[in-house]
Amino acid sequence: MGLKDFFTSRFKKNQETVDPISQLFLSDLKKGYFVDYDLKSWEVVSENRYEWGSEDVTYEWQIATHDENLFLEREPDDEDFWTLSSKIPFQSLDSQVRHQLTQSETAPETILFEGTTYYLDETGGALFYRDGSQTGKEVFKWDYCDDSETLWLTVEQWGENDYELSKGKTVKEYQFSNILPND
């Protein structure tokens, strides 16, 4: 190793921010990181946040494997609340429900979907920031959950007529392992 290599390597080492031994938590995920879940390795492809108001933020990571894209969301409260969801076609909702969501002033209190009754849990508008962007995009959300609060159905409205539906479930941090930084 030459003198130049020595100093170059030292300089590079000083720039490292993640101690490989330090316990990485799920909330430490960043774009490019890998995490194991459900016997598969997932790559974090985007790191987003929803700002509902001052100091009311939820964090979202889009994780992908070869054939699936999931959205991991963390809602900080007394303790972190984690959900994992995937996008499904808005059209899969009952047409009456869709009509009520898109045309009516009031959202339905319950939605029957795939044999499960979901109850309206919360609604609200937020600014969505993708990958640390400084410009937020307006979004309105309707969150529905089943009576055990483990299954979730979320409708998002982006703009005038753009609706997205996602189906999710409550997850626990221990279900994720081998968080791997990739700087």
Binding site: P20, I21, F34, S41, N178, P181
Partner: protein, 235 residues
């Protein structure tokens, strides 16, 4: 052994002795752990690359599989069109054959890529095990170092206290106390001697003073003389 050889050996042993004195085992261990962490970082970086490659390769395999299915579907549609007379039979069959060739090619690519993906996934699993093992080892070393540092600090403090205690024994403090004790005893003896002398002097004086100041005994003497006169006795 020649003189120069011996001289070299002496120099070598002195150099080793100096280096050994310079070596701080705690710092050396910390450096060792830092080096291990660098190795771990490199291994984790490689693991991230392998995992990324595995996911992308699997994705490519799936894509080729889907393409193969698409070409087969297209070949079937061409045959249906030939059947319905919508396209020329020869041209239709040529295109259908091309589509099936493409299907075969994509199937082969899909199989090759799936095998590659399996290799990468296997390698990623192996690397993950090694990374986890290395992490465990480093964590164990770090914990040992923390314990040893605490023990080293305790030992150093104990050594310091013991040295202080030892230095108290050999210092003049106890001697000084002994001297002081001797002096106090000497002073006490002297005081006692002075006291005794003062005591003897005071007994002589007190006898004289008592004799001189004794009113009671003088009047008794006068009474005795008067009684002797009345009885006609000489004094």
């Amino acid at each position: 052994m020649s003189f120069f050889k011996r001289l070299f050996k002496v120099g070598e042993s002195q150099a080793h002795s100096i280096v050994e004195k310079m070596e701080d085992p705690v710092k050396m261990t910390e450096q060792g752990i830092r080096d291990l962490k660098n190795d771990l970082s490199a291994a984790m970086s490689s693991l991230a690359q392998v995992k990324g490659i595995a996911i992308r390769t699997r994705k490519e395999a799936d894509k080729n599989k889907n393409l193969a299915n698409d070409y087969e579907r297209k070949a079937m549609m061409l045959l249906q069109k030939i059947e319905s007379g919508a396209i020329d039979s020869a041209e239709g069959e040529r295109l259908a054959t091309e589509a099936l060739n493409k299907k075969e090619q994509n199937n082969k690519d899909a199989e090759r890529l799936a095998a590659e993906a399996r290799d990468h996934e296997q390698r990623a699993n192996d690397l993950q095990s090694k990374v986890n093992k290395l992490k465990g080892t480093i964590t164990s070393y770090e914990n040992d170092l923390i314990t040893l540092k605490a023990r080293s600090r305790t030992a150093a403090s104990t050594k310091k206290i013991n040295a202080q205690m030892a230095s108290i024994d050999s210092s003049s403090t106890i001697g000084m106390l002994e001297k002081m004790k001797a002096k106090v005893e000497e002073d006490e003896s002297l005081a006692q001697a002075y006291g005794e002398v003062a005591g003897s002097e005071s007994s002589v004086d007190s006898e004289i003073d008592a004799a001189l100041n004794s009113q009671g005994s003088a009047s008794a003497a006068n009474s005795l003389s008067e009684l002797k006169k009345r009885m006609g006795l000489s004094s």
